[in-house]
């Protein structure tokens, strides 16, 4: 029982308000209460299992090119874990090549935990690109 309802009942018990007034007050309190806190609603949503990539390209001819890929998120996690096993020499070379291509990212700074968090947050990601006859969708289900 919440505090406001308790106060109404207390006032009724003390004779400060009538039963009808108490009933109206309780009804008003129930109307004011939100149905479900947003955090609870999010928690009840089932966790996605797969990452889907759907590509449809109708520009190449009368029959469109379709690509439909479904990858378990668990597989992404396993792949991400493997990145921690990349030898330091290889990391240095990859960093140098990335830098040369204008992407100055230091892969050695990426920790497996951060990558796992990234995968965990993927279910919020939806990419929808439409460009003329081509369409690309990336989402989790």
């Amino acid at each position: 029982m919440n505090e406001q309802r308790r106060q109404v009942l207390q006032m009724l018990a003390e004779g400060k308000i009538t039963a009808d007034e108490a009933d109206r007050l309780i009804e008003a309190l129930e109307r004011d209460q939100p149905e479900l806190p947003p955090a609870t609603a999010t928690r009840q949503k089932p966790r996605p299992k797969y990452l889907r990539v759907v590509v449809l390209d109708s520009s190449s001819g009368p029959e469109p090119t379709r690509v439909n890929i479904r990858v378990p998120l668990q597989l992404l996690r396993a792949g991400v874990q493997l990145t921690s096993l990349i030898p330091p020499q290889a990391l240095t070379r990859v960093n140098a090549e990335l830098d040369k291509s204008g992407v100055p990212i230091d892969l050695a700074e990426l920790k497996p935990q951060q990558l796992e968090e990234l995968v965990d947050q993927l279910h919020e990601v939806t990419v929808d690109i439409e460009d003329g006859d081509a369409k690309v969708q990336v989402f989790c289900e």
Binding site: E63, T65, R66, V67, N68, R70, Q74, L82, L85, P88
Partner: protein
């Protein structure tokens, strides 16, 4: 669970379907001599590059365990390729 069945379907320009069902465990048993060689080569590579072989094996195991459910479909005109891991 490790993958049990890999299904490969291919339809060429002639419209004829080619279906290949590959049971993973029997295939792994059949190819076990090659697999042992591959594992040995992997272990040597790990030692050469200074990576922990146990971490590498664990990572490869996770990858294998996570494969079921993977599905790739590519359709380009008359040609279709479908790979499914169950």
């Amino acid at each position: 669970m490790i993958p049990q069945l890999v299904t490969l379907r291919y339809r060429g320009p002639g419209g004829r379907w080619l279906r290949l069902y590959l049971p993973v465990l029997p295939a792994a048993v059949l190819l076990s001599p090659l697999l042992i060689l591959a594992v040995l080569a992997g272990l040597i590579a790990c030692v050469t590059f200074g990576i922990s072989p146990t971490s590498e094996l664990r990572g490869a195991g996770h990858l294998l365990w996570a494969l079921p459910g993977t599905r790739v479909e590519i359709e380009d005109g008359q040609t279709t390729l479908l790979v499914s891991v169950r």
